[in-house]
């Protein structure tokens, strides 16, 4: 597992994304409940938690698909919780979706060029033709994700693995500073999972900060510098993958009991992770 290679000194100054007391209510239900965390530039930040913990709702609120009930979201120091989805994209935030969303009637290039042309920077009025620069950016992003050979294939009938790569490619085409991945490896076999993880590492080395939600623990733990575990829309625990796996509160939430194997002595507290009191 990749240890924290010279993690940024302190998270305070280089925070690219900062979520401050964020809440999102659907009727009476608090899907996200006064959640605060920060993600530093260049870091890979994993989000875990059981079903209904509010992970996707958190993503929707950051990306502008849902309005935060209260609290602030800062990206590169600017507040974005009230901005529209496409404006947030122009700031440099790109995301993928849990249910693979592709444009079924467009080809692979057609999907990616939308990110390349519209996501790159705001345009007053769309031009009459795609400029070659956008087309090149799109082709580069497609081959970056390993779809260089399938540019003219219609996206609708593509297998799940290609659709997941296509979403990443079209996100990268808008040259984001932050890439949010919602279950990038869900439903894939082991070989495909490894390939996606390799792609995410390529994204990291391109200097893009990655925040990802994932159920497949093997993948999440191996790719994340730090992991946040959510439950009931609240922060349960935040720390390095090792801290998370050793932390009995997290195990209790997942497995329901401290397993026979005694949790490692280094209780979570001495790690830099912090635990929120587990609200009823």
């Amino acid at each position: 597992m990749t240890g924290i290679a010279d993690a940024p000194q302190s998270m305070a100054d280089a925070a690219l994304l900062e979520v401050d007391e964020l809440s999102k209510h659907f009727g009476g239900l608090a899907a996200v409940d006064e959640l605060s965390f920060r993600v530093a530039e260049g870091e890979t930040f994993g989000i875990a938690g059981p079903n209904g913990a509010g992970k996707t709702t958190l993503f929707d609120t950051i990306s502008g698909h849902a309005r935060a009930t209260n609290g602030r979201i800062l990206f590169g120091g600017q507040e974005i919780q009230d901005r529209s989805t496409h404006a947030i994209c122009h700031l440099g935030v790109a995301r993928t979706f849990q249910i693979p969303a592709v444009l079924p009637e467009h080809t692979v290039l057609g999907n990616v060029i939308v990110g390349a042309y519209f996501g790159h920077r705001p345009r007053a009025v769309p031009g009459l033709r795609f400029d070659e620069a956008s087309a090149e950016r799109a082709r580069a992003a497609a081959s970056f994700a390993g779809l260089g050979g399938k540019l003219d294939v219609v996206a609708g009938p593509l297998p799940l693995f290609d659709k997941k790569r296509l979403m990443i490619a079209s996100a990268m085409a808008s040259e984001p500073r932050l890439l949010m991945l919602d279950e990038p490896v869900g439903g894939l076999n082991h070989r495909e999972i490894d390939e996606i993880l390799e792609l995410v590492r390529k994204v990291r080395s391109a200097g893009v900060t990655v925040v990802l939600i994932e159920h497949v623990m093997r993948a999440l733990m191996s790719i994340s510098d730090r992991v946040m575990v959510m439950n009931h829309g609240r922060l349960l625990f935040e720390g390095t993958p090792e801290d998370v796996q050793g932390h009995e509160e997290v195990i209790r939430v997942y497995l329901g009991t401290a397993t026979e194997q005694p949790p490692s002595e280094t209780a979570a507290d001495d790690g830099e992770g912090r635990t929120e009191p587990h609200g009823a």
Partner: protein, 365 residues
């Protein structure tokens, strides 16, 4: 540098899956269409063909929104009528040259679309249909009940001046109008074709198939849809203006459920969201509808039944059906050649199922 150079352009067209129209076929059809008034000297047939051309302009503009853009507008007929009335009023009262009047008609329709568009484009599908359908009916009823003479009430406005073909003999005048209509259809087709291959068209299709996804890639929904709504309304207005100048009259009877069923049938039978759909559909339904000319009630019953049968059995219309069949035919022929090379090149992919984002869960009601 713009994708001007030919090889870069053709590479992009191939990769984007855009269909380059087969130039010979297009040229052939155009020549045939242009020759029609000369070959077929019967003015009834030319009149029907000319009306079909006007409906082709209108349906192409409607398909731009409903089919390609996924904007649920069922008030296009009202925009068409507003264009007609606009042109008629301007040329009747201000005596402005008819060509200018047609443009004014187009602008009037575009303006109306802006007024209706702002609330409509923020609505979820079915509410947009309700509001635009009601808008159409309200405009019709408003014109019918207008006694102020402005719109001529249920009889509409008559005596709308000619498009500067007054001096010609009736036959020559009809032929001149025919060729202008044909030109307008071609211009609209070029605009629609360019639209589909433009960033705007690509963005609209994206908004139609996966709105959340498109917005997260930087497409601003309201701006794109307002532009398309305006463009489509302008074209519909022009068609309305041309209709008024050709027939010399514009009346509320162009609107209403009957006419609308005709146009919806043309769009649905042809194939919503395709380039050729509106053209094929209009021609087909026009032939059927004229064939039933003398049993009037039966005409709309038959058209209604055709619309019902088509929408239920083949919701995507004829053109996609023909395209799938053609593609299967080509793949079948390809398999034949590959027969000796041990099986088809690529696994026969099953017919394109639901859009990726749509089928999270099979809706087995």
């Amino acid at each position: 540098m713009a994708a001007g150079s030919d090889d870069a352009r053709s590479a992009l067209v191939r990769e984007m899956g855009w269909r380059r129209p087969n130039l010979f076929a297009v040229a052939g059809v155009l020549i045939l269409a242009a020759m029609l008034p000369l070959v077929w000297r019967n003015d009834y047939v030319i009149d029907v063909a000319l009306t079909a051309l006007i409906w082709m302009i209108l349906n192409q503009s409607w398909n731009l929104q409903l089919g390609i853009g996924g904007i649920w507008n069922f008030g296009q007929l009202a925009l068409f009528a507003i264009g007609g009335y606009g042109a008629a009023l301007v040329s009747l009262h201000w005596g402005s040259p008819p060509w200018l009047a047609m443009i004014v008609g187009g602008l009037a329709a575009a303006a109306a679309s802006a007024v209706v568009g702002i609330p409509v484009l923020r609505l979820r599908g079915i509410y947009a249909s309700l509001l635009t359908f009601s808008f159409g009916e309200v405009v019709r009823l408003l014109v019918i009940s207008d006694e102020s003479g402005l719109t001529g009430g249920s009889f509409g406005l008559s005596g709308v001046p000619d498009l500067a073909f007054g001096g010609l003999s009736p036959d020559a005048r009809q032929r001149a109008y025919y060729w202008v209509a044909l030109a307008l259809v071609v211009v609209t087709a070029v605009v629609v074709h360019a639209f589909i291959q433009s960033p705007l068209g690509t963005a609209l299709k994206a908004l139609r198939d996966a709105p959340g996804y498109a917005a997260s890639r930087g497409v601003s929904p309201l701006k794109m849809q307002v532009i398309t709504f305006g463009m489509s309304a302008f074209i519909a207005g022009i068609a309305g203006g041309f209709y008024a100048h050709y027939f010399g009259v514009i009346a509320p009877s162009v609107m209403g459920l009957g006419p609308m069923s005709l146009f919806v049938a043309m769009l649905v039978v042809g194939g919503l969201g395709t380039f050729a759909g509106p053209l094929v559909g209009t021609a087909l339904i026009m032939v059927i509808s004229e064939y039933l000319r003398d049993y009037d009630e039966m005409r709309l019953i038959i058209v209604g039944v055709i619309l019902l049968v088509t929408i239920v059995l083949a919701p995507r219309g004829l053109v996609p059906l023909l395209q799938d069949a053609w593609r299967r035919l080509q793949r079948w022929m390809a398999e034949d050649e590959a027969g000796d090379r041990g099986g088809p090149e690529e696994a026969a992919s099953d017919p394109p199922t639901a859009s990726g984002a749509g089928a999270q869960e099979e809706v087995t009601r």
